[in-house]
Symmetry: C2
Subunit: 355 residues, 2 copies
């Protein structure tokens, strides 16, 4: 059982006292880093990078060598589960993810297997184990998955979508079939996250990238309900015997925080449009909050970035329960020195809120 | 002074009793109609269609010949003001609007004129007059403009944008210059809308398409403040001596309804993500609400569309103050018979809420 040298993230997610606000960044292992681009080049394709535990481990660790982040997040893709279900994930330059065999009929849904994460997704659990070895207890490792609804949209649309016409048409016209798909996905996501926890993930995050495209009612019925089901199936304790906190992030979900409390997560991720002060007033001490600087603010010169960081720390205010992050993933052409300005500002200006 | 034969829209926007919920549709004069596509073809280019009062009048009237809509909305583009300021609006097939001369420096902002709507935008006021003649009091005509913030984004980015990097960088680093641009735009928008009102517009709507991409604070400072300034400068009475209600629509603004009340509009537009029942509880009798069916629901078969309409009417509940609409513009490949199902359902199922 490894003792974490830096457990700020875990403590903040569980709303235990900390002496500083922890900070990490969605997509921190990514294209804004030249050393990432070099490994990506070496891998040949994005899928090769995801499925090679050594390379996935290497890019996971890269941002930690540069910045004083308080967590590592597994480098992987949100669409590994549908790929393991046989849909054939591939990437074409500049076009986003696609599936060779999208869901086109009800019988396609019925035929879908629930993947065994220890065989079809072995490359992920192997990466988790390897990353944990290399981290050697320096900071916790976050595991993750796409949410059932978000996975379903890609599986039905065959890739990225603007309006989600096919997924929503199934929702309107044959909701029971969509429910059966989402149920299968919830079971698969839970098994996948539990395998990551068993392999060593010390916190987990569910990315509900497209829940915010739904009406309030449809969000509750088709997205949030299955995020709740996932949480209910998750192991609470990791391989070290410690509590594994869980974070739910619905982009565009700022109106639904009250409903999200019911899903049982330890923390909610906030996009940048949501006011973190009002959000804290709303959720009280029931969950921690993660976020929420506008990713575009990282284009500004460092002195302006520092002001934005200070404003967000001040908005959250005194006490534990805040994990500093962006409100969405970092954009690929950000100057790494601007990230450094953000991270250093959290280190410098947050201790006063924890005295 | 023309007496309106159908004043349901005006009455609902002013929260006066009606015997049925009025209905119209954002982008109702548009590509989903074959007769629109024929006129668009005839015009040669989208700009030719916008700047030709006879053709703009024709496409404005087309949806009213098919469907029992309770309002016409001027056919035009939201970017006519920047074009009149000299930025050179043009459209390339499948790429959205672009400017030949986007704002690239602070001196570009200083040089921008406030256009005289009766000269540079004469084609718009001419279209308004012509449409009023043809409508002959059957239903009211809605005039509109893009909001100052939304116009500013296109002017700075040079066209559509995903992340608004340039506009937000100006906001972070030189906010005073952005304020001076927004102030100039607010004056221009107010003059433009007043010219539409003088020409015969009977209600107006401000489209804040991109306000929802901002943080809460930035929305209040850079978008809402200028929507408020526009409203303060608007004529309250039209050329017929009647009150001209004003609607503010911020896509993605569902979290900010409370703040929006302060801008002085008679009605707020809701996107489909916002729960219209909760929104009504929040705004009480201070404003009317317009919306908010998911535009993607119009892909569903008519029987499902009818259920969606009934659910929204029920959510708003009894009493006046609701204008039925989509939560965003209609998509270009919708079957017109599905629109008919929506409109007819509002006619059939709304009277019970007004007894």
């Amino acid at each position: 059982m490894t003792q974490l040298k830096n457990d700020l993230l875990i403590r903040a997610l569980l709303r235990q006292p900390v002496d500083r606000t922890p900070v990490w960044m969605m997509r921190q292992a990514g294209r804004y880093l030249p050393e990432y681009r070099a490994v990506r080049e070496q891998a040949g394709s994005f899928m090769n990078l995801c499925t090679n535990p050594e390379l996935a481990c290497e890019v996971t660790l890269q941002p930690l060598r540069r910045f004083r982040f308080d967590a590592a997040i597994l480098f992987s893709d949100i669409l590994t589960i549908p790929d393991a279900m046989g849909l054939g994930l591939y990437f074409t330059e500049g076009e986003g993810p696609k599936f060779k065999h999208p869901i086109q009929s009800v019988s396609d849904i019925k035929k879908l297997p629930i993947p065994d994460p220890n065989t079809e997704l072995r490359y992920v659990t192997d990466a988790v184990k390897l990353i944990r070895q290399h981290l050697n207890g320096s900071v916790p490792l976050i595991g993750f998955s796409g949410s059932p609804w978000t996975l379903a949209t890609y599986m039905i649309e065959g890739g990225s979508s603007k309006n989600f016409q096919k997924a929503k048409s199934l929702m309107y016209e044959q909701p029971n079939y969509l429910h059966s798909l989402l149920d299968k996905l919830a079971q698969s996501v839970a098994a996948y996250l539990n395998a990551q926890i068993e392999a060593g993930a010390q916190a987990i995050m569910l990315f509900d990238t497209w829940g915010g495209m739904l009406t309030t009612e449809d969000y509750c019925e088709f997205s949030l309900q299955y995020a709740k089901q996932v949480k209910a199936l998750l192991a609470n304790t990791g391989k070290d015997g410690n509590t594994v906190p869980a974070i739910l992030f619905t982009k565009g979900g700022g109106q639904w925080l009250e409903a999200m409390l019911d899903a049982g997560y330890d923390a909610l991720g906030l996009d940048w449009q949501t006011d973190i002060h009002k959000a804290r007033l709303q959720v009280g001490s029931r969950v921690a909050l993660q976020g929420n600087m506008d990713p575009v603010a990282l284009y500004a010169q460092p002195e302006f970035i520092v002001e934005k960081v200070k404003a967000i720390l001040e908005k959250f205010g005194k006490g534990s329960g805040h994990v500093f992050n962006l409100g969405h993933g970092i954009l690929p052409d950000i100057n790494p020195r601007h990230v450094e300005a953000m991270v250093n500002a959290v280190h410098q200006y947050s201790p006063v809120y924890h005295r």
